[in-house]
């Protein structure tokens, strides 16, 4: 195994050793789908959800939750810690570059997100006959763009925050508004048009719209995809410029 693969392997093991993260990323989505699916009539199209099947809507939300948890709490916290503890620095005197560790981490977390979504699709299908995302291609694109946007934002937080604690804190500060305006706590259908507009411009808002739409069989609007792509590119570029490999 070369350096990158070995790093990815170790980071995967470490990820699984954090029970909180494993529960948040794998347990919670499944629990949500199963829980809501038990509500009688919820596995039918809901008028309040623009005709989307209730459990399908919950499944879509859990995708958003995973993206937000990983991108806005996981990424800033872990990378901030790696910097503060000197783990990145120690790699700076080996033949492997610290950047390789960063990329390995991002790849492991992205794989965790994709796996979680796959599990949710499977569970929803088996338990409540929720169909798999009808526009599979658009769904996958929306998911990947969502990962890119949320992870880049998390990386940006990790780049500018001076300490591990402030990195985690700043991440949480972005987590709650994103979750709120995206329509995770309550559907966008129940929001005022102003709130809905705000939500559309948040990365998570766009991601959830695109995921819900493509799951339902509606082609996601290009604005959603564009906003996610913009967040991904701009946040990544700013991170690249300002990222510090060591604690000041």
């Amino acid at each position: 195994m070369n350096g990158f693969s070995r790093l990815a392997f170790v980071e995967t093991k470490l990820f699984l050793r954090e029970t909180g993260a494993a529960i948040g990323v794998f347990g919670l989505p499944v629990a949500l789908v199963i829980g809501f699916g038990l509500i009688p009539g919820f596995s039918d199209p809901q008028k309040s959800l623009s005709g989307q099947i209730g459990t399908e809507y919950i499944a879509s939300i859990s995708v958003a939750i995973v993206l937000a948890v990983l991108g806005l709490t996981g990424v800033p916290m872990v990378i901030g810690q790696y910097r503060e503890r000197g783990i990145l620095r120690r790699l700076g005197v080996t033949p492997v570059r610290p950047l390789t560790l960063l990329l390995a981490d991002l790849m492991v977390w992205a794989a965790a997100a994709i796996l979680s979504v796959a599990v949710v699709i499977g569970v929803a299908r088996l338990a409540y006959h929720v169909p798999a995302p009808r526009l599979a291609g658009w769904f996958i694109l929306s998911l990947l763009l969502g990962i890119a946007a949320l992870f880049s934002l998390g990386l940006l937080v990790a780049s500018v925050a001076p300490t591990a604690r402030s990195s985690a804190g700043l991440g949480w500060l972005l987590f709650f508004p994103n979750m709120f305006f995206a329509g995770v706590y309550f559907p966008t259908e129940e929001m005022s048009s102003v709130m809905r507009q705000i939500g559309n411009f948040t990365p998570l808002g766009s991601a959830l719209h695109a995921v819900r739409d493509s799951w339902m069989g509606v082609t996601p609007r290009p604005e959603y995809l564009g906003i996610m792509a913009a967040y991904a590119v701009i946040a990544a570029a700013v991170s690249a410029r300002f990222f510090r490999w060591e604690q000041a």
Binding site: N2, R6, V10, K13, R17, G86, I87, R89, P95, V96
Partner: protein, 303 residues
């Protein structure tokens, strides 16, 4: 003797202040080279410029013929580094860390053997957070050696270790050198430097105050030191003050203290032998790097 490390005019500035100010030295193959000085002297900065961790502002550094700025990758395959402050992920197991780092190098050592040698044999599956301070220290030393390096940089080798562990560590480093590895040792411990180093550079406020073997530094310092003993026969200690190099002689009870400079200790013992005065508890004190340091730099390590 080929120089494995060549440093000339090395300079590093932070905010206009030269933390490392135009230092030069070389290190020969198989040498243990010490860099001694108080906190803030610039030791870690200098060594990290050599390792390629910091970008030097001036001068040249060649390690194994390679420049840490332009040949970083190739250099890092051949050196090992133990940083002054380091941590690993809390839930990372010892064996995982060693296997991981071993995978970075083209010709790594056997990590099990390293664990054995550094007293971590039973700890292969222990998580990093569960190790004691001393065990963590030894793990980082093992990580510095896992790549089978030709040159090893050790920054504060025994900080946080109890006296027994310090001596055991010194023995192991001597063994490392015996295998042909060149060692650069940064330390603020006199005894460590005196015990291990072939040559020492004393760094003070970014400049080299002195560079010599430990014994050479002690000689050069020429400071005062003391010979103490209990004569077993009547002795007029004041008569010893006539000997070359002796500064004073005092008696406290049945103990005699003679202070002086240079090689007066030999002169005193020779004289005692000539007068056939047997002595007990003969001690030579203060002839150490400690007092040489004070003499050479004008101040003690703490000030």
């Amino acid at each position: 003797m080929t120089a494995v490390i060549e440093v000339t005019g090395l300079t590093k500035r932070y905010g206009g202040l030269a933390v490392v100010d135009d230092i030069a030295f070389h290190v020969d193959a198989g040498e243990i080279f010490g860099i001694l000085g108080p906190n803030g002297a610039g030791k870690t900065t200098a060594v990290e410029c050599m390792e390629g961790l910091r970008r030097r502002d001036g001068g040249e550094v060649r390690i194994l013929g390679l420049d840490p700025l332009t040949d970083r990758h190739r250099l890092h395959q051949r050196i090992g580094v133990q940083l002054q402050e380091s941590q690993l992920q809390e839930k990372l197991k010892v064996r995982e860390a060693l296997e991981l780092y071993a995978s970075f190098y083209p010709n790594p050592a056997d990590w099990r053997e390293l664990l054995e040698r550094w007293g971590l044999a039973g700890k292969a599956d222990a998580k990093f957070a569960k190790l004691s301070g001393g065990q963590k220290q030894r793990l980082f030393i093992a990580l510095a050696l896992i790549g089978n390096p030709e040159v090893v940089f050790l920054d504060e080798l025994t900080s946080g270790l109890d006296p027994g562990a310090r001596h055991a560590t010194w023995d192991l480093i001597s063994q490392v050198r015996a295998q042909g590895v060149t060692v650069v040792l940064v330390s603020h411990f006199m005894d460590e430097v005196e015990e291990l180093c072939d040559r020492v550079a004393i760094l003070e406020r970014g400049r080299i105050a002195a560079l010599d073997t430990p014994a050479g530094l002690v000689d050069r310092a020429g400071g005062e030191y003391r010979v103490r003993f209990r004569p077993m026969a009547p002795l007029d200690e004041q008569s010893l003050t006539a000997l070359p190099g002796v500064v004073s002689a005092t008696r406290r009870g049945n103990q005699v203290d003679v202070t002086g400079t240079g090689d007066f200790a030999s002169a005193v013992t020779a004289e005692l032998a000539r007068r056939q005065v047997l002595v007990a508890d003969l001690r030579i004190e203060g002839r150490s790097l400690d007092s040489a340091y004070v003499a050479l730099t004008g101040r003690s390590m703490e000030s």
